[in-house]
């Protein structure tokens, strides 16, 4: 699928109605989601016939997008309001309408509470996650990455603030045991004023789109 067609489908993704500050809920903007998905689909694993887990899926932009591109997806989030919107998006964004459903399911759970046994069962080719950036709860993005490393068999794709790049590189290779950690793209993440404590109408922050390759276990 062409990038612009994917982006136009993702433009229909309904965002959070009442974002929760403690969960750092920011909708993955369509141009960012489409770039991420397009890169995975064309330069890396590809989505047709693969399994994908979307950790902290929120309204489902990334997960539903991956399902549109042919993956079977499981989206996991703690927030039932976000999941209700994700369920709507799964219907509304489906380019095949009534004829064929997207292969995607959602489960309500705390990503940080997924037991090692559960992570083992959930094994998927690819994990995608737009985690909380950890500005409210420090280190939570690294915790998401740790859980993701226990689920992915091929690669984890994730977004993190550019300011933490060297730390993430070290942590991913030394502590989490990824084989490779590379920044695929540096993105300008345009955060529209979501919460009252945001002073400006729109703030651009620099965000890295990472690919973490999993060491194949024999």
């Amino acid at each position: 699928m062409k990038l612009k067609d994917l982006q136009s489908l993702l433009e229909d993704c309904k965002p959070f109605e009442d974002p929760k500050v403690e969960l750092e809920q920011y909708t993955t903007r369509p141009h960012i989601a489409s770039h991420i998905l397009h890169a995975i689909d064309n330069s890396y694993e590809g989505f047709v016939g693969t399994t994908v887990v979307d950790l902290g899926c929120g309204c489902g932009a990334l997960g539903v997008g991956a399902a549109i591109l042919g993956a079977h997806v499981l989206g996991i989030d703690i927030d039932e309001d976000a999941l209700a919107i994700a369920q709507e998006n799964r219907e509304e964004m489906n380019p095949w309408g009534e004829d064929e459903a997207l292969s995607i399911d959602f489960v309500r759970a705390n990503v940080l509470e997924l037991s090692p046994g559960m992570r083992d069962r959930l094994k998927a080719d690819v994990v995608i996650t737009n985690p909380p950036f950890g500005t409210r709860a420090k280190g939570v993005d690294m915790e998401f990455l740790r859980v993701a490393s226990g689920i992915a068999t091929s690669a984890v794709y994730s977004l993190h603030k550019t300011s933490t790049r060297s730390y993430i590189q070290r942590h991913a290779l030394k502590t989490l045991g990824f084989k490779k950690a590379q920044v695929v793209a540096e993105l300008r993440y345009d955060l529209p004023k979501t919460y009252k404590f945001h002073k400006k109408a729109c703030t651009d922050i620099a965000v890295d789109f990472w690919r973490f390759e999993v060491l194949s276990k024999q």
């Binding site: 047709v48 016939g49 399994t51 042919g70 079977h72 499981l74 703690i78 039932e80 999941l83 209700a84 369920q87 004829d99 064929e100 459903a101 997207l102 292969s103 399911d105 959602f106 489960v107 309500r108 759970a109 705390n110 509470e113 997924l114 037991s115 046994g117 559960m118 069962r121 959930l122 094994k123």
Partner: protein, 123 residues
């Protein structure tokens, strides 16, 4: 919730040892149509707990799955692959619950989404 998803979930209450598979209580089940991809089924088969899959399907009155699957069936048995695809991906439990096999704790399924959040004393 599809039966594929059910096959991947286990009860994660702290201290529970008999955690798999969840029993499924279904009040409302819907059927959808999902793109048929035999290669996906061939890749998924080794990852599934077949007995849990078959037992759960039968609990939902979905018949037609064999006790065991041969390579030949996965390779070229169209009728088997169609049945496997349908039960794995096209049946959605919309309302009901997942029940922990050890404690009987009910995890409700509402609008197709199982809620596996634990209470404080469970984690």
């Amino acid at each position: 919730m599809k039966l594929l998803t059910h096959n991947l979930l286990e009860c994660h209450i702290k201290g529970v040892t008999n955690k798999y598979p969840f029993l499924v209580e279904a009040q409302q089940v819907e059927q959808t149509e999902v793109d048929f991809n035999p290669d996906f089924l061939r890749r998924m088969y080794p990852k599934l707990d077949w007995k849990a899959f078959k037992d759960t399907a039968e609990g939902l009155k979905l018949e037609g799955l064999p006790d065991s699957v041969t390579e030949e069936m996965l390779k070229s048995d169209e009728a088997f692959l169609r049945a496997f695809h349908h039960i794995l991906l096209e049946v959605d439990v919309e309302e009901g619950a997942l029940i922990c096999p050890e404690t009987g704790r009910r995890f409700p399924i509402v609008k197709g989404i199982p809620n596996l959040l634990l209470n404080e004393d469970e984690c």
